[in-house]
């Protein structure tokens, strides 16, 4: 398996100063690099150069990056992209601050996905030698790392096939319409042993539903909710448990209306994991197991 994890999410924000305040002071990320209308940020437990890029102007997803390991992995993926009939181009060191050469793919869903194996190493805030479990100077929620992204696509079955055939992801959970196993509404896919590293549901191409930060547990989730209330962050849903992934969640919005999530727990998967199926009549439990209610806008609202 050559794709390791979601490495970065690059989003548009209407007001860079307000966005910085949210991602730095409420979430607790650190700015590591700035250039013309862009801020690059990193969470405290991440090793690599950055995990979030904010770009001023508009809302929504510019692109997202997954880190790849292994000699020749990018070449092999490039061949499989071509065989699939999707488009890709080589990207160069410096296209993204701190990131080396890589491959830029346009997904069948029109999203831009970048793959890279080289990225500047900055290290976590606690270091690698006899480290403390967390740094003392955290701000706000103090998110340790990003975890996954959920995007929308007109054709979930096609995108699932792409992630399977080209990137060797596997579905952990699948949401299907009616009794038809083949009529896919959404898929939660992993590349390592998380319940999901990417997910997508049916909707317009090229859009972002949310990207998520991992936090420790239920009490961290509730504390995150406290910080959101202190900073008047609009909450979309939660705290609640997901049926899908079994994780704990709060969905909330950044100052531009991009949806974020704090996500805790979830089970382990792995190469022998057999996918779980959810039917549409139980979709509300799948998304919000605690309340068993979701309004339509939860699925419709994307940026």
């Amino acid at each position: 398996m050559s794709v390791i994890r979601l490495g970065y999410v690059h989003v548009r924000v209407t007001d860079l100063a307000q966005a910085r305040q949210h991602y730095q002071d409420t979430l607790g990320m650190d700015a590591v690099h700035e250039e013309d209308g862009k801020v690059y940020l990193k969470s405290w437990d991440e090793d690599d150069h950055h995990s979030v890029v904010l770009e001023e102007g508009g809302v929504g997803l510019v692109k997202f990056g997954y880190k790849v390991a292994g000699e020749g992995a990018l070449d092999a993926i490039e061949n499989r992209v071509r065989a699939f009939g999707a488009g890709s181009e080589r990207m160069s060191k410096g296209d993204n601050a701190g990131v080396g050469d890589g491959l830029r793919i346009t997904l069948p869903s029109d999203h831009v996905l970048e793959l890279y194996s080289e990225i500047d190493y900055l290290g976590t805030k606690v270091g690698k030698l006899n480290p403390d479990p967390w740094p003392r100077d955290l701000r706000g929620i103090g998110v340790p790392r990003i975890n996954h992204a959920l995007i929308t696509t007109e054709d979930p079955a096609l995108l699932e096939r792409f992630f399977t055939d080209v990137l060797a992801f596997r579905p952990a959970e699948r949401l299907v319409a009616g009794d038809e196993e083949s009529d896919l509404v959404g898929s939660w896919m992993f590349c390592g042993d998380q319940p999901h590293d990417v997910a997508f549901v049916k909707g317009p191409n090229g859009k972002l539903h949310h990207f998520a930060y991992e936090i420790d547990d239920w009490s961290a989730l509730l504390r995150a909710g406290d910080v959101m209330s202190m900073d008047d962050v609009p909450i979309d849903l939660g705290p609640a448990r997901h049926g899908i992934t079994r994780g704990g969640t709060i969905y909330f919005f950044d100052p531009s209306g991009n949806r974020n999530e704090v996500f805790s727990g979830g089970y382990r998967t792995g190469a022998d994991f057999r996918p779980i199926t959810w039917t549409m009549d139980q979709a509300a439990r799948g998304i919000n197991y605690t309340h068993r209610e979701i309004d339509q806008a939860f699925l419709d609202v994307v940026t």
Binding site: R12, Q18, G58, V59, P255, S256, G257, D300, V301
Partner: protein, 110 residues
């Protein structure tokens, strides 16, 4: 301070300086249709029937385009009344949540 009249209910509330339509309604115990409250999702989009609003934060062209603006569309979660305004929020009814000022109900046309 500007008065906000909400159609079709005919409810009237007063906005404080710098306060958006949605925030003025929320402060006075009313919930309208919205989601992100940050101008990014477009769920609250409504018709500005009368009056003028301004936006203190930039709004993405992809959420509220210039043609829509010209046609009188507005984003109540970000639109701050400059004059008295009349906003048509559409069919979805306003919801009372811990309404602290029951007087605001009496202007409802039923």
């Amino acid at each position: 301070m500007p008065h906000i009249t909400v159609l079709p209910q005919g409810l009237q509330v007063v906005a404080q300086p710098g306060e958006s339509v949605v925030d003025a309604l929320r402060r006075q115990g009313w919930r309208s249709r919205y989601k992100c409250r940050r101008g990014g999702c477009g769920v609250c989009k409504a018709q500005l029937v009368n009056g003028r609003v301004r936006y203190l934060q930039p709004v993405a062209e992809s959420v509220l385009g210039t043609t829509e603006l010209a046609a009188g569309r507005c984003l109540p979660c970000r639109a701050v009344p400059v004059t008295d305004v009349v906003v048509d929020l559409g069919a979805e009814p306003l919801r009372a949540v811990l309404t602290s000022n029951p007087v605001s109900r009496t202007t409802t046309h039923e």
